[in-house]
């Protein structure tokens, strides 16, 4: 078996707050293969972005990585733990191996600097290229995302929202990274522009062969775009499966609840059920399953025993105590007139 591009093993991230320490990411493990799009979904505050920041090692106190390994495959196929790299090694690693498109990328560009300097800044910071070489590379990158190179000297406000998004993606591509983390890359965009951008990203992925960690709260979009999806709930990964499987045959009641929470554009109109209750307060974690208070199938074991993520069948993983291979919950057949 080929080694995955990145293996995250038992990652934990803590925040120190006045009210107590909060474990925002708890024992999360998953792999992303070479050229694979892995989607990470979940509600606000479930730890999606915290994972993204941890992989880039961008956390600053009061947040810190309190455990786990992040194994990244280098060119020779050797795995190295990027959490063990020194700060200097990390500077070289960051962007050349793994880059990131931030949430609200529209605001990620500095409004008072022409974009050419924002490209060369990144390129010269992480490589030994001269200014001239860096500008040449910036011109190439602009062409890759279908923007005319003569616009390099423009300022961010002179571009439309979709173009700014493409600029940020171009900057992420600058050093040919092997993995790009995309944290809600299209959230503020209109649907038409969103689809154009995602199709562009997909085409670039096919051309350059990088892997993508795709984070969004829009499940419909995620199912369309990802190969595999991981669902998070209050800092834990609760289900991992292929995009085709996860909404059709969920093993975790939370995933099942999500699949009944958004209306579909076509097909029969189903009544939306939603998930009763509210997300868990991380300062007040119950014994056993974290979803127990909102779960309709809760049993005694859920309140007493820890529930690690386990393989249910053929790589479809879930942490639900009640999951049995071959007996997924399926989609509730509730139809309205």
């Amino acid at each position: 078996m080929t080694i995955p591009q990145i293996s995250i093993r038992n990652l934990c991230v803590d925040y120190i707050t006045e009210a107590g320490d909060v474990r925002a990411v708890n024992n999360v493990s998953f792999d992303i293969g070479k050229g694979e799009v892995f989607g990470l979904a979940g509600e606000s505050g479930c730890g999606k972005s915290t994972i993204a920041f941890a992989l880039m090692r961008l956390h600053k106190p009061p947040a810190f990585i309190s455990g786990g390994e992040v194994l990244f495959a280098d060119d020779e196929g050797k795995q190295q733990d990027i959490l063990q790299l020194s700060d200097g090694e990390m500077t070289i690693f960051r962007w050349s191996q793994m880059s990131m498109v931030f949430q609200s990328a529209m605001n990620a560009l500095n409004p008072v600097i022409p974009i050419v300097d924002q490209f060369t800044d990144v390129i010269m910071r992480h490589t030994n290229k001269t200014k001239y070489e860096a500008v040449k590379r910036a011109e190439q990158l602009l062409q890759i995302v279908d923007i005319h190179p003569n616009r390099l000297t423009d300022y961010p406000h002179q571009f439309s929202g979709g173009m700014r998004q493409r600029l940020v993606i171009a900057i992420a591509l600058a050093l040919n990274p092997k993995l790009i983390i995309m944290d809600e890359p299209t959230t503020a965009l209109d649907v038409v522009v969103q689809r154009e951008i995602l199709q562009k990203i997909y085409a670039l992925k096919e051309e350059f062969g990088f892997s993508i960690l795709f984070i969004t709260h829009d499940l419909s979009l995620m199912v369309e775009f990802s190969d595999r999806i991981g669902i998070m709930y209050s800092g834990q990964l609760i289900e991992v499966a292929s995009a085709k499987e996860i909404l059709k045959n969920p093993y975790h009641p939370y995933t099942h609840g999500l699949s009944n929470s958004f209306p579909s554009l076509t097909g029969p109109k189903k009544e939306l059920i939603g998930i009763p209750g509210n997300p868990l307060n991380l300062l007040d974690i119950p014994t056993g399953c974290r979803f127990q208070a909102r779960c309709t199938r809760v049993e005694e074991v859920c309140r007493t025993k820890e529930n690690p993520l386990r393989d249910i069948e053929n790589g479809h993983m879930s942490n639900c105590h009640l999951a049995v291979a071959g007996e997924s919950i399926g989609i509730a057949e509730v139809t309205t007139a």
């Binding site: 649907v191 038409v192 499940l219 419909s220 958004f262």
Partner: protein, 330 residues
């Protein structure tokens, strides 16, 4: 459309709204945010307005709420042009009947007051309770909180906005609409900031209000799938123009305007693939001014002819409840 859809509450007739885009008084360039927009809102029926940002969706809601006055055209509420409503007593009556729900549940509640205050205030202002009768007021507030699913009501009433989740706050906003007995609710992206699991509950609550309290709902959104869930009528806006409107399912399944086709082909749906071809798209979204001519979509349309660039298409009725503004359908 005939009276078979129930009582007509709000009607927009050829509404035009221009905004100044420069503070320079000498230049006075104008931008047309809404051009010849007409619509009808009925009791116990939802009308969704969809379109890209900047297409003029919110402008329509704000004009109905009397926050802006139309440059020309009329908005008729129960037979009366709302521009003629100027006396305080009449205005109060109008605001009692027409209420708004904002997009941001975090910005629309006062952080320094508890939930009780937020519900009690409209009750007092619109004299829905006997002045001075504290017990009646309390009972009414708890009853309202109960109705929107915020139980236990007594405990919720004592809380402050920061102690509630986004979905709960939006429920407080909806309780305020019920409190004054609103007949028309203008909801501007009410669920776009909520998580999916919470969103369903708020949508179902609005659905319930629509049927049980016979409210007329204006649902502004960019999410066409939720529009389908909650609204019987759908209006598609593009650069200040309503390009297609009518029965929601009819439009989603058989879109006739090229822009509607483009929009619907772009909506994320689990049954689609990311490679789903966009139904034609080129060029940029134009800035519409009072002097602009032709069809606003002509610059991006795959079927555009020279006529589309020079002449604004007339409204064409395709079915009893399906209208389109496109030269292809004449």
């Amino acid at each position: 459309m005939s009276e078979k859809y129930g009582e007509l509450l709000v009607e927009g007739k050829n509404i035009v709204k221009d905004f100044k885009v420069s503070s320079n008084a000498l230049k006075q360039p104008m931008m047309r945010a809404s051009n010849d927009v007409s619509f009808k809102m009925y009791k116990s029926r939802g009308m969704a307005v969809v379109g890209e940002s900047g297409s003029g969706k919110s402008t329509i809601a704000k004009m109905i709420a009397k926050m802006y006055a139309p440059t020309s055209g009329q908005i008729i509420y129960k037979g009366r042009d709302i521009q003629t409503i100027t006396k305080h007593a009449d205005l109060m009556k109008y605001r009692e009947g027409v209420q708004m729900v904002w997009q941001d549940p975090f910005g629309s509640l006062n952080p320094t007051h508890n939930i009780f205050h937020h519900i009690a205030r409209p009750l007092k202002i619109h004299k829905k309770v006997t002045p001075g009768n504290k017990k009646e007021l309390e009972e009414k507030v708890y009853e309202l909180l109960d109705q929107v699913g915020l139980n236990p009501a007594k405990e919720t009433a004592a809380k402050f906005p920061h102690q509630l989740s986004g979905g709960q706050r939006q429920r407080v906003n909806l309780a305020r609409n019920i409190a004054v007995g609103a007949e028309v609710v203008l909801a501007d992206e009410p669920t776009s900031m909520l998580d999916v699991s919470i969103r369903a509950g708020v949508l179902n609550l609005m659905q319930k209000m629509k049927f049980e309290r016979e409210m007329s709902l204006l649902y502004i959104t960019h999410d066409i799938a939720t529009a389908r869930y909650i609204a019987e009528d759908l209006s598609v806006m593009y650069v200040g123009h309503m390009v297609e409107w009518g029965d929601t399912d009819e439009i989603i399944h058989r879109p006739q305007h090229p822009y509607t086709q483009l929009l619907i082909s772009a909506v994320p749906d689990p049954s689609k693939s990311i490679h789903t071809k966009l139904e034609g798209n080129k060029g940029e979204i134009p800035l519409w001014t009072p002097d602009s001519i032709g069809c606003p979509f002509a610059g991006r349309c795959l079927h555009a002819t020279s006529r589309c660039k020079d002449e604004m298409p007339e409204v064409k009725q395709l079915a009893e409840n399906h209208f389109v503004r496109c030269h292809l359908h004449e």
